[in-house]
């Protein structure tokens, strides 16, 4: 018989077990019965804490995703430049992934399953990047700080670059990124991106950490 736990401990245990199962098999691949079985409790116990499997899945996602407050904090601590804000919000996102690679697996599973709710969730996680890049490039171009560039395309390209690197490093364990940690990869990609859009970092921004470029 399962050890009696306090409600908060029980909830945390349910979230931890559900996260591993969802990241391994996706939302549709896991039943409430299976989660309960892994926990050694009855499904009724799960329903005491979560009204439905969907509610549990949503809480797992919110639990492991980076928080909006972190983005606010990044902006408050930044020098306000495009370079510094982009570098800081990218690091926050990457930190959340490095803290828990199951997040990426859940993102991939949700893409395969095509659920509107989860697709929306992950799209919202990328919006700070895409909207920020698109608007900022538009402003920089209007100020003649950079040549005219398609901001939407650039934003999507950046998102694609970061996603590819994270999947290669954390899921596929590609040797291409073997010698770089996630923050070095982040700095490398941001440097590449700035070059591509013709943006020169202001003096006050911290210089890129450099690192060996992956082949």
């Amino acid at each position: 018989m399962a050890k009696r736990l306090k409600a908060t401990e029980r909830k945390a245990t349910i979230l931890a077990v559900a996260k591993v199962l969802f990241s391994d098999k996706g939302y549709h691949g896991v039943s409430v019965d299976e989660i309960a079985r892994r926990l050694g409790v009855s499904p009724a116990i799960l329903y005491r804490h979560f009204t439905s499997k969907e509610a549990l899945y949503e809480e797992v996602l919110n639990d492991i995703a980076c928080k909006r407050e972190s983005y606010v904090d990044a902006v408050v601590k930044s020098d306000g430049s495009f370079a510094d804000v982009l570098r800081k919000i990218t690091r926050i996102y990457i930190e959340s992934v490095s803290r828990d690679p199951d997040y990426l697996r859940m993102e991939m599973q949700s893409a395969l399953e095509g659920s509107d709710a989860t697709r929306q969730f992950f799209e919202n996680r990328w919006r700070p990047f895409t909207d920020f890049i698109e608007f900022s490039l538009k402003e920089l171009s209007a100020n003649n700080s950079i040549e005219p560039v398609n901001g939407r395309l650039a934003a999507m390209a950046f998102q694609g670059m970061v996603r590819e690197a994270l999947y290669s490093k954390c899921i596929y364990r590609s040797p291409r990124y073997h010698d770089l940690d996630l923050f070095e990869i982040s700095d490398y990609l941001i440097g590449l991106f700035f070059n591509a859009v013709g943006y020169t970092e202001p003096e006050s921004s911290p210089a890129s950490l450099g690192g060996t470029a992956p082949g």
């Binding site: 983005y71 408050v76 700070p128």
Partner: protein, 76 residues
Amino acid sequence: MSNFDMELDARGLNCPLPILRAKKSINSMTAGQVLRIIATDPGSVKDFEAFCKQTGNELLGTTQDGAEYQFNIRKS
């Protein structure tokens, strides 16, 4: 809502842009002045609460009118 000294139109912008623009506006203001921000991102309610908590500026009030949110922030 009370009077304000500067208005920031952040409609149509999503996190982190309203916060970034608010930060820039507040930097150009003097202590005691009030910035009014109009935004449409529902997440901006929590964002500006966090912003004021982290910066020490005072959130005087938040109102919602349909899909629009208004925030009055006094620079500390």
